[in-house]
Assembly symmetry: C2
Homo-oligomer: 208 residues x 2
């Protein structure tokens, strides 16, 4: 059966992005530091390359939150915002964007189509599997989507690269997850493969 | 000049202890999982041994919170509580215990004396240096003491072993630290030495 995986790099203090997201800072201030391991940090090594292959492996579809798609809030208005990634986004498959402000599907070069939906994460994930042609589905970010998926039991595997820096503020991955304590499953570390600068942790859902 | 260091093992979701501290669970439920690396986990390796030597290196004094000293809250009452560690605690030097309920100093076998004080962390750390005979001072836990020390700029070095498990609840190390964002210094990773199962991170305070 196809799996769902999310990949969320976090700082030592638990943040996936810095504060003040903007067009200049898609990941918030200093947020890019969390992604050096797959975006050209010269200290990256084979463990990072393995993790990057895991991150970039082919999927069938993607579910992301609206803030990951762009910095625009509220109504789309006159905006012609088409995502952060230019004319040919790196996904090459359907991407379901959760938003309270649906708009028509947006077909991009290279096989990526953004579908904007206002529905529960459960329905969005089901929709993604419907579009994925039997392949895996990637979930999130941002944190609110991932947290909702975790609360609803929709995440099979989590890849959490921990970067030893302190951002001091931003959006925290492991928050608002009290529901997980009452869930009939938990997460167990199935792979721990640190690089020279990043602790790559892979967690899998296990019954308990 | 002598330094201050704190050592705080955290879970992937940022907790230093599990919930429900009690006599049976000094570190809260499942909290001991965070300390396997220096308490007999068979997967521990040389990187853990190096970190354990760092943890156990000789100091001159220690500042800890009352909840680290014991599970008793409020007035000490008839309690003859003398700490978690038996007649001969592993410190062998003065330990300053922050509490709103001072009591006379408690001299134990092996050179450890507990001094119970109701004062600011700044004064407690100054007192510890006064007792330390020119040697380093260890700070914390619990988290409230460490956070107070971080806010007041009293921590020179932090050793943060990150253990890839999810506790789901407990006390979080990196919280209540907004003041750090306005501080004239930050923390930089100066040593990153993962073992087979733990990412040992050492941070040092740097001007910025």
């Amino acid at each position: 059966m196809a799996d769902t995986t999310c990949h969320m790099s976090i700082s030592l203090d638990g943040f996936v992005a810095g504060p003040d997201q903007s067009r200049e800072h898609p990941l918030g201030k200093r947020g890019r530091e969390l992604h050096g391991w797959h975006l050209g940090d010269e200290r990256a090594n084979e463990a990072d390359a393995t993790a990057a292959r895991r991150l970039l492996r082919p999927r069938g579809a993607y579910v992301m939150g609206r803030n990951m798609f762009g910095p625009i809030r509220g109504e789309w208005g006159e905006s012609d915002w088409k995502g952060w990634w230019g004319d040919e986004p790196p996904y090459h498959h359907p991407v379901v964007v959760l938003t309270h402000h649906p708009r028509p599907p947006l077909e991009m070069a290279g096989g990526t189509t953004f579908h904007f939906v206002d529905e529960t994460v459960e329905r969005a994930v089901a929709r993604a599997f419907g579009l994925a042609g039997g392949q895996d589905v990637r979930l999130g970010g941002g944190v609110s989507v991932v947290q909702a998926c975790l609360r609803e039991g929709l995440v099979d595997e989590m890849h959490v690269p921990v970067v030893p820096t302190i951002l001091g503020a931003g959006e925290r991955l492991f928050d608002n997850l009290d529901a997980l304590r009452r869930a009939p499953y938990g997460y167990e570390c199935v792979d721990f493969r640190p690089s020279a600068r990043v602790a790559h942790v892979v967690l899998a859902r296990v019954a308990r």
